[in-house]
């Protein structure tokens, strides 16, 4: 087309006998199209937050470090070391010397201050600057809380910065419930545990007397469904995170019940129930009312996960002969298969944004965490290892945490996270072995 156009133009030109370079006028802007760029972490400068009250400097430093760690941890940002700084920020109110920050190529600047008030009240405020534009990005914000909550306040600050720059939803102020593992592979002790998304502040929710599996957060993050063998048989329990109280769900009779998940409105639980050796998917009100069988096939149907609008359920089934992913209406009914690649697909999880399904894939003796669209298209494998499984979405749908287990008799499970671009794979810090992570929604 373009060629044709230029050809025509040339002809016209010849016909007119015009002399190029003369009588040419261009006003209006020069137009260009940029279609290629680079993908690099964005360099930011984060001078230690200013302590505005005596004795707040340590806290200010710690908060600054957590904010920086959150940002760097995304893989989307790079911190410019403070040793490179030309100017410093001694007061939150003083004007920013953008040139000094430009000179060290800081593209974003985060300036903050911390004040410790009476009664342990902590105030953290900050501003975010686009250094090259020489202006603030969004308004300054201030958070108030208690001193003990400083870590969460740091996460909140980082969340705002992250969101303003990337446009992605926040996720740092969130927690992860998981299965803490100790002991050797053959005699593994498993306990439910909860921690901040970055691995700090871990505490246990159950003891290690019985096997516990696959905890799942409620949509409000205050309760957890999980599977436990405490009666000797797998049953589903509901645990209140705040007081660690738990109760068994009154699930219909069967050899075992497992793989529970909340519906987005938190009123319904969907789970697998095994009867006569056959595993199907059921749903039920959280109080035990209205049990309803959603699948009814001699094959294995398990690992159900609701769509964010609650209207559909994605699950895995081996009805075709191998494990594959299917989507069905949340009230049951005909399921359509969405996975068609080579290999086996399991543990599907619907993205909180609704646009992707994360899954575990087994292919050629390796395990992968991957994502695909709802129709199965654009499948992308994000990881590969001896054993990766049980993906869980960050509240913003940009990051996935999962279990990676190493090979052999000394095999250990750990938590890893990966960006849905496939970049920034990293291990999440836990004190013990860990598996089956479930990411909470953003904390209130």
């Amino acid at each position: 087309m373009q060629r044709l156009l230029s050809l025509l133009c040339c002809l016209a030109l010849l016909a007119l006998g015009a002399v190029p370079g003369q009588a040419q006028q261009q006003s209006g802007p020069l137009r260009i199209e940029i279609t290629e760029g680079v993908i690099e972490p964005l360099p930011f400068a984060l001078p230690s937050f200013v302590a505005e009250t005596a004795g707040a400097q340590d806290l200010a430093d710690q908060i600054s470090r957590v904010v920086a760690a959150d940002l760097v941890g995304t893989g989307l940002f790079r911190e410019i070391p403070q040793t490179a700084f030309i100017s410093s920020l001694t007061s939150f109110a003083s004007p920013v010397q953008f040139a000094d920050w430009r000179a060290i190529n800081a593209q974003a600047l985060i300036a903050g201050a911390v004040a410790l008030g009476s009664g342990g009240r902590l105030t953290v405020k900050f501003r975010l600057y686009d250094v090259f534009a020489g202006q603030e990005m969004g308004d300054g914000l201030q958070f108030d809380g208690t001193q003990e909550g400083w870590r969460r306040m740091a996460h909140k600050v980082a969340d705002v910065v992250y969101s303003r720059i990337t446009g992605e939803g926040p996720y740092f102020d969130s927690r992860v419930v998981f299965v803490a593992e100790t002991g050797t592979k053959g005699e593994r002790k498993k306990r439910l545990a909860i921690m901040d998304y970055d691995g700090f502040g871990a505490s246990y929710l159950t003891d290690s007397a019985t096997i516990v599996l696959a905890p799942r957060f409620s949509p409000t993050g205050d309760r957890v469904l999980y599977t436990s063998y405490e009666t000797g048989f797998p049953r589903i329990y509901l645990l209140d995170v705040a007081n660690v109280g738990r109760r068994e769900l009154p699930i219909p009779a069967g050899e075992m019940a497992f793989s529970p998940r909340f519906s987005p409105d938190a009123r319904t639980v969907v789970f697998s129930l095994t009867q006569g050796g056959n595993t199907d998917i059921w749903r039920m009100d959280l109080n035990g009312a209205n049990p309803q069988r959603l699948t009814n096939a001699p094959s294995i149907e398990t690992a159900p996960s609701f769509s964010p609008d609650g209207s559909q359920i994605v699950f895995e089934s081996d009805r075709s002969g191998t494990q594959q992913l299917y989507i069905m209406p949340a009230t049951g009914g005909e399921a359509r298969r969405i996975s068609f690649g080579q290999g086996r697909y399991g543990s599907p999880v619907w993205s909180p944004r609704g646009d992707l399904i994360a899954f575990t894939k087994q292919s050629k003796g390796r395990f992968h965490i991957g994502v695909m669209r709802l129709d199965g298209s654009e499948e992308r494998l994000l990881t590969a290892s001896f054993l990766d499984e049980s993906p869980s979405w960050a509240p913003n749908g940009r990051v996935i945490m999962f279990t990676r287990e190493t090979q052999g008799a000394g095999g250990m499970a750990s938590l890893y996270s990966v960006d849905i671009s496939g970049r920034n794979l990293k291990r999440v810090r836990t004190e013990t072995g860990a598996s089956d992570p479930a990411w909470s929604p953003l904390l209130p």
């Binding site: 156009l5 199209e33 993908i39 972490p41 920086a68 201030q142 108030d144 809380g145 909550g149």
Partner: protein, 378 residues
């Protein structure tokens, strides 16, 4: 004679005629709708000072501003007290940040007991997460500030790392030679990238995704571009968009010409038009600073058209940078897309773009379309 001139001139002439016949479908200048988003300060700042509080802040930001409204009394998971967020006063220059309307929301929830044991926290980032031994793709912090970190995360085979550094090294805006020189270096950097990527790829994402497939084309495009001196229209960019662009271009120019003739408002410029090579050089220069690595997946679906005025020495006038329009994404994602576009224009323009001084009239105003389609994560 430069083929670029010929073509450009030809497009002109051909389309002037067209214009006279079908002048009606003029590309109307896009309204500034988005503008207030870009410039946060003014009204909002006043509003803030006036004591109006939070809600406004939210309108211009993507993110849900943290709990300004007293968070619903949800039994917070064992954690500490949800901090109440209060917008502090706005922009930089002066205002004492202290004044922020003290939050009524400040005492929203009684601190419940906490298990964030603060003490353990001394050490910085490493704690936060341990790199996967086998697949670490994060840059380690480096002492010297560079535009481009280590080859790292970047899957782009052809990204030009170190752009700025290079520019510094190529001081004189001497016309073509410099251009070539500059471009010669770019691929080199790209090679590094490729290697890294290739090495990483297998472990990070063994099975090919949509992305990689798109890549291979790009180096070619760049190469063609390098042939610069005798620009072929095809070299400008792949695909149909370009055609459309070219048409628009020509149209726009033609119209402008007509306008110019009509009221002679602008000093008439007579001389060769911007050559395709010059245009490409500019495009490549901006590309090198266009970092989409920190954009949301939505923003990566958003194309923004950005206008900028230039000084005679080829530097962008920062306050003149505006978003003209956007497509493919939400207003919010357009903001991030615009921010990154603006950063690109400014960063790579700090020493001035290599544009022919004698044609200043032609590039005094530039409109750049940033289309991240190829950079998308999907």
């Amino acid at each position: 004679m430069n083929t670029g001139h010929v073509i450009s001139g030809a497009g002109h002439i051909g389309l002037i005629g067209w214009l006279f016949f079908g002048a009606n479908f003029a590309p109307t200048p896009e309204p500034f709708q988005v503008n207030e988003v870009a410039m946060i300060s003014g009204a909002e700042f006043e509003a803030m000072l006036a004591g109006t509080t939070p809600p406004e802040a939210v309108t211009d930001m993507v993110l849900p501003v943290p709990p300004e409204t007293p968070p619903p009394p949800q039994p917070a998971p064992a954690v500490s007290p949800p901090p109440a967020a209060v917008p502090a006063p706005a922009p930089s220059p002066v205002p004492s940040p202290e004044q922020p309307p003290v939050p009524p929301a400040a005492q929203p929830m009684p601190p419940s007991d906490v298990q964030d044991a603060p003490p353990q926290i001394a050490p910085p980032p490493q704690e936060q997460a341990v790199l996967a031994p086998d697949i670490s793709d994060r840059p380690s912090p480096r002492p010297a500030p560079r535009v481009a970190p280590e080859p790292v995360a970047t899957p782009e085979p052809d990204t030009k790392v170190d752009d700025i550094v290079q520019e510094a090294a190529t001081p004189a805006p001497s016309p073509d030679p410099a251009q070539q020189k500059q471009e010669a270096t770019a691929p080199e950097a790209a090679t590094t990238e490729i290697v890294t990527e290739a090495a990483e790829k297998p472990s990070a994402a063994p099975v090919s995704s949509v992305r990689p497939r798109a890549r291979p084309n790009r180096p070619e495009a760049t190469e063609t571009t390098e042939a610069v001196a005798q620009p072929q229209p095809q070299a400008e960019a792949p695909a149909p968009d370009t055609t459309r662009d070219a048409v628009q271009d020509a149209l726009q120019q033609a119209m402008a010409d007509a306008a110019a003739t009509a009221d002679a408002a602008q000093p008439a410029y007579s001389g060769p038009p911007i050559s395709a090579g010059e245009r490409d050089a500019l495009r490549v220069a901006v590309q090198k600073c266009w970092n989409v690595g920190s954009l949301s997946t939505d923003a990566l679906r958003t194309t923004v058209v950005v206008s900028v005025s230039m000084t005679e020495d080829g530097k962008p006038v920062v306050p003149s940078i505006r978003m003209r329009s956007f497509s493919g994404g939400s207003q919010a994602s357009a903001q991030q897309a615009f921010d990154s576009a603006r950063r690109a224009i400014i960063r790579c323009g700090t020493r001035g773009y290599d544009l022919p001084a004698e044609k200043y009239a032609l590039w005094q105003e530039i409109e750049m379309t940033f289309n991240p389609e190829k950079m998308r994560i999907k």
